[in-house]
Amino acid sequence: MSRTLQCIAIVVVAALALLPFVPGAVDAYYFSFLFFIFLYAIMAQSWNLVAGYGGQISLGSHAFFGLGAYTTAILWTGNYLWGSLYDKHPSIYYFDPVTMLLGGIVASLAAVIVGLPLLSKLHGDYFALGTLGFGEIVKVLFVNGGDFTGSAFGIVAPAGMFDTLRPHYWVALGLMVATALAIRALMRSRYGLALIAVRDDEMAASANGIDTLKVKVAAFAGSAFIAGVAGSLYTYYIFHVGPDSVFDLDWMLLPLMMTVVGGTGTLLGPILGALVMYAVFDLARIVVPDYHPVISGLTIILAMLFLPKGLMRSFAGRARTG
């Protein structure tokens, strides 16, 4: 990243971070609009790590998102962490970093457990279908989880905690930036080089001494961790964690589309994709509520037809030839 781009990125992030202080900003629609873009950008980065950089097409992101969301809701409503402190400080679980971290850890542990057999035996489409199946299994387990998971109804967290969208916005922005920086650092490390080597030619990477399974499982677990933390954040926004909402396939499909449109295997592609796609989807929902899927579908078709490599790579390619 050039120094100019770095400077611009810092200015943009700083401006976004200061936005909640602008009078009226928090009550404006664009505030929650930006929150959702950050959330989807985090999910898109999560998918990009395992699929864009790692070459393993995962269709199970929604399962990890849901696991993070449920972990937070269960810890919160069951008061499994803070004991009597919860009585004195009823807001202790609200944006609690430990709870959020555990949301990510539970998701990444699940990714390791399911990733070891899947990634050692399955490749390409078969791995993708395996992860899709995993998502369905997790959803059914939570639907039938009895009082612990709230069964098919799910769990309702104390909605009275909500006062303003400011913390959601800042945490989402912070997580989006932190995720991008972490992935940037990771891809510059020995591990990142190994991951790209595995993506480009797994056999050659293995012949060069790379433990390919370990590299793939680590990427899968890292991706799940990011999705789990995003799910945790969503719990603080939605306050009702149900199997139909947090294990919704949209939590996998939309970030996947956003990454593809933005540019797979690029650092800024998922953010750009989230920005553009969410804007199009949302505008269509507002302006033509009866027909918005047509607009959304058309946008995806046009993007695939004219920008098959994604926005980032297409712009880069055009400029090189121009």
């Binding site: 629609y29 909402s245 953010i271 553009v276 400029a319």
Partner: protein
């Protein structure tokens, strides 16, 4: 790198333009803006269509009568309805409400339908302190949350689930089901209703020959139908979406399996159900929340208006129409659109002369309405329960209809 920057800037510009374009004018002291998340797309779009029509009619009728008196404005104000698509998804209700509250600047909200979606909506409304008037959610889902800024009228699943057994009780001995089956979708409403059906069956002395959950959105029910055939099932109580129920009935016909008594919940009441199945919808028993045959003020006229416009009848539009009636009356009583004031105007209060009758809200903000049972006959719902005049007709085999 400059090139990547161009990409970023283009994206930023595009989204800024798009977001700005999405901003619309909001109400001042000249009107009251009522928002409603509605399933305009997705598997529940058929239900959403009836809901939207009912809300539009209610708002038009209120405006025709001069609007509602709002003390804080010192005059009668007209209502304006704005809707947002919830895509038949619990997760999307929150986005729809963000749009209604922040972009459309609504003053108060009318509900979407189905329990989980309405719970999601009620929680968002609670967050933003906008009143959310609900129908079509079970009280067991909503009441424990003790929300301040929503109220609900609907039926309890318990008495609702007893309706088919009440119908069976009145049948001659040879028509009473011997091997009934219970098929409920894997959803919160399905689970809630499933438990209520099991309790009702026990109470009325029936045992289900098949009691299976039903996966939402499945396309092949041949295994289920084979199981029903093997168990010699002669009555089915089915809780599922319109799309799933239509698919199930089509496959039952293809496989030559028919039951004399097929009673659907959630998936069989819409006009789309009849349009999709045509004459095959005859004999199907269906639930509903309302009937144009009700003796209440405006019920008959509303039913006639719906029928004149769509050439079919409805067993839901009255409930949604009444939802808007209650909210409008509550705003008038409260003298403002302040959520806390609307709360006080509804909780523990009675609302007279709605198209579902008088509604008496208890101290928790809940009012009870009865569940309805009708039978499809030549494209119309014939009221059987409560107090219907139509005589139930058992369905013959498919080739004898």
């Amino acid at each position: 790198m400059e090139i990547s920057l161009n990409g970023m800037l283009a994206g930023l510009l595009l989204s800024t333009v798009l977001s700005a374009a999405g901003t619309v004018a909001y109400a001042g002291d000249t009107e009251i803006v009522i928002g409603a998340p509605i399933s305009l797309t997705g598997p529940l779009a058929g239900d959403g269509k009836e809901q939207k029509w009912a809300y539009e009619q209610a708002v038009a009728d209120i405006n025709k009568a001069g609007g509602i008196m709002v003390k804080s404005a010192g005059k009668k104000l007209p209502l304006r309805l704005v809707v947002a698509d919830d895509e038949s998804s619990e997760g999307k209700v929150a986005s729809a409400l963000e749009n209604l509250i922040k972009v459309q600047k609504v003053d108060a909200l009318l509900s979407t339908h189905s329990g989980p979606m309405n719970i999601a909506g009620a929680i968002v409304a609670e967050k933003y302190k906008k009143f959310y008037m609900i129908t079509t959610a079970f009280p067991f889902e909503w009441q424990p949350l003790k929300l301040k800024y929503s109220a609900l009228f609907f039926f309890h699943p318990g008495p609702g689930a007893e309706v088919p057994f009440e119908v069976w009780d009145k049948l001659p001995a040879d028509e009473k089901p011997k091997h009934p089956a219970l098929i409920t979708e894997d959803s919160p409403d399905g689970k809630g209703f499933g438990g209520a059906f099991q309790a009702a069956a026990k109470k009325y002395g029936y045992t289900f020959a098949v009691d299976d959950p039903w996966a939402i959105g499945a396309t092949d029910y041949s295994a289920l139908i084979t199981k029903l055939k093997a168990a010699d099932v002669d009555a089915m109580l089915v809780f599922g979406s319109p799309a799933d129920t239509i698919t199930l009935l089509r496959q039952m016909k293809e496989l030559g399996f028919s039951v004399p008594y097929f009673h659907g919940w959630k998936g069989t009441w819409t006009g789309e159900f009849h349009e999709a199945l045509g004459p095959d919808s005859d004999y199907i028993m269906t639930d509903g929340f309302w009937s144009a045959s009700y003796p209440y003020k405006g019920a008959k006229e509303l039913g006639e208006r719906y029928e004149a416009e769509y050439k079919k009848d409805s067993v839901t539009v009255g409930a949604f129409y009444a939802n808007a009636q209650v909210l409008a009356q509550a705003i008038e009583k409260a003298g403002s659109t302040d959520a806390a004031a609307i709360h006080d105007a509804i909780f523990g209060q009675e609302f007279k002369d709605t198209v579902v009758g008088d509604l008496k809200f208890d101290e928790t903000g809940f009012a009870l309405i009865p569940s309805v049972a009708t039978q499809w006959w030549q494209g119309k719902h014939q009221l059987i329960y409560p107090d219907g005049t139509w005589t139930y007709k058992p369905a013959p085999a498919w080739d004898k209809r």
